[in-house]
Amino acid sequence: MAGVGILMLVHTALGRAEQVARHWHAAGCPVVIHIDRKVPEATCAQFRQALSDLPNLRFSARHRCEWGTWGIVAASQSAAEVMLAQFPKVRHVYLASGSCLPLRPVQELIDYLAQRPRTDFIESATTADVPWTVGGLDHERFTLHFPFSWKKHRTLFDLYVGLQRRRGLRRRIPKGLVPHMGSQWWCLTRQTLSAILQDPDRRQYDAYFRKVWIPDESYFQTLARIYSTQIESRSLTLSKFDFQGKPHIFYGDHLQLLRRSDCFVARKIWPHASRLYEAFLSDSNAAMKHTEPNPGKIDRIFDKAVDRRTRGRAGLYMQSRLPNSAWENGVASGRYSVFSGFAELFENFESWIAKATGARVHGHLFAPQRAEFAHDQTIAPGAMHQSAAIRDYNPRAFLTNLIWNARGDRQCFQFGPADTQDITWFISSDPNAQISVISGAWAVPLFHSNRNFMEIRKEAAQLQRIVSQFLDVLRAPHCKARIRIWKMAEFIEAPMEPLQTIVDEIGIATPRHLTEAPKLRELAGFGQFLQNLKNQGMHPYLMGDFPIERGATQPNIPPRKPYLVRS
């Protein structure tokens, strides 16, 4: 008989439990099974009958096991007592459940433990050090009363916790105990386990832990600290928990992953995952190298699952993720640039910025007639239609879809007062947006237009009103975008410097000095044009102070630094 005894707590899928019990037993491990009191008597009798041919298998007194309550501890205690009393050769006692599955040949576990005869494997950490507690209760598990079920009467549970907090009600922790917590699946030596079970103060401890919340994660974990000479604070059972504190379940498609985990035992296995049961219970060639358990690979997958459930993919809006405002974790999925006034001021701005940055440069995406996608496409990645009606039906979805579909490809677009303005608040609150505005440049196309001055005056007044509202949004305190605003007069004084800043911030693989400037539109007479507007009673103020007679100088590229060629 092996020196390792197995305690199995079972409550469902008894057929699988039987298979696993036989597997342990066949390798020479005595097995003690605890059947949940909730299992009907008939089912229970059938199960006992099915296993009656195994000489080293016992059943222990039954308790009602409800999640988070004392029953599970009581069940472990009774089963452990049977094990210690009836199988004197057992040195290590391994607590497992009916949905645990040994991944490595049992003999390896037996050898592993035989080489560490005095080591207790039990995850046990002080409450200050564990991040995994559910419901925000860590130390309070040990100091409050929990008469109401968390699963069935959540409201009462919360109300009563709140009441005790307000009243400052506290339970006293018995002297000598330092609360520890950890996985409920442990493997203890006979010495430690019997010391816990035969402790003269056990009645007192039991009475205390009976009212602690989730005692199965703290009873043995705390008491082992008193008696163990050598604690390895980890569980030999691979068991991953999701964000609700519920164990992750393993399915057939986890086979390779489990094989590579090198863990002795995994839980919890889906009862219908025949592929796993077949592979691990019959095929001892599935044996892995004799290495230390290393569940790191599995950890990553389940950590990612928790992350996906709690944080999700930034900038994604879909049927099962629609974050409330400020909970988006990144409003759009990637960074993008919005240019206002640049295409009006420079003849070739779009092609210039595309060349300088390698970004995808759209025209006015929010133009009233249609979304002006880059290269005059009528349809954009993701099968986005250019229809203005579709876009304006849900501008936010339009933009976030565009950025999401681009998948890391930097997007730029032009935005002006003639465009649909519904999106302004949204982009200004997005930290991914880089918004650059040359205020007043909207007047340049009017200046070049061949229209009657009264019409121009009217439109100028309207555009200026819209831009001014846009600027108000950009200056509001909620803004998180990277916003730069220049008055047009100021900008054309030295356009290269702001352009360089913008290009640098967009960031290209090889940052370089701009070697080519965009071509400024003809502005001779623009000052007079503004003066004419003023003379007609309209007050253009957004462009800054333009002297009547000043045109603008073409932007100059600063000369390269001289350098010396040695020969």
Partner: protein, 213 residues
């Protein structure tokens, strides 16, 4: 589970885990309803170019779908999402997107006699069942219903539905179809995506594994 005969349910790991694995996971997770949005599938080329034969897998003819043009709004009254988009909005309703049909569906529910579907499987009562989406940044698990309505049989179907007049909003939808179909439209475009598997839909952000791993 409520699905139409022309809807193919896709859920995370559907190629390696049976539906029972999903329900066995949903139940202890206290998830009572599971969302699977409609994804309209279509062929490349006019609908009647590749006739459908009885017994054939319609996805052989119509494996294409729109990957990223869906609009989501929240219905304040019932708490459900209102998803529209895809080829039906793009081709049939580019000028009246509000009339495009709803694509949000909740086909899988742990049923209780007090529950009811309000409008097809688009929304449920009580309202809590409609909260199949996370509002705090996370992703809940969800699936998709591949909708193989757009086959050569569709034109006849649209006519029939027009005459039955049983549909929502006085068959606005079917009127639009009948009009457009007369011109033999091609729903396919250069950004259409060809269906491969559920992982593709998850990568595209159309569905999610949530915390099922």
């Amino acid at each position: 589970m409520v699905v139409d005969p022309d809807e193919f349910l896709i859920y995370p790991f559907c190629d390696s885990r049976p539906l029972r694995a999903l329900t066995d996971w949903l139940d202890p997770s206290s998830i009572k309803s599971f969302s699977a949005m409609l994804i309209d599938m279509y062929p490349k080329g006019p609908l009647n170019d590749a006739p459908y034969k009885a017994g054939q897998n319609p996805l052989e003819i119509a494996p294409w779908f729109d990957p990223g043009n869906y609009s989501i709004k929240k219905n304040a009254r019932f708490g459900n999402l209102w998803i529209q988009g895809g080829p039906r909005m793009r081709v049939f309703f580019p000028d009246a997107p509000e009339k495009a049909p709803a694509l949000n569906k909740i086909p899988l529910v742990k049923w209780d006699r007090r529950y009811c579907y309000v409008s097809s499987t688009h929304m449920l009562l009580p309202r809590g069942l409609n909260l199949v989406y996370d509002e705090w940044g996370g992703e809940k698990a969800s699936g998709a219903l591949l909708h193989t309505k757009f086959l050569d049989t569709f034109a006849a179907k649209a006519q029939e539905e027009l005459q039955r007049k049983q549909h929502y909003a006085a068959s606005v939808e079917y009127k639009a179809y009948a009009q457009s179909l007369a011109q033999h439209p091609d729903l396919w475009c250069k950004w259409s995506e060809k269906y491969i598997n559920w992982r593709q839909l998850e990568t595209l952000g159309l569905m999610s594994k949530g915390n099922w791993a």
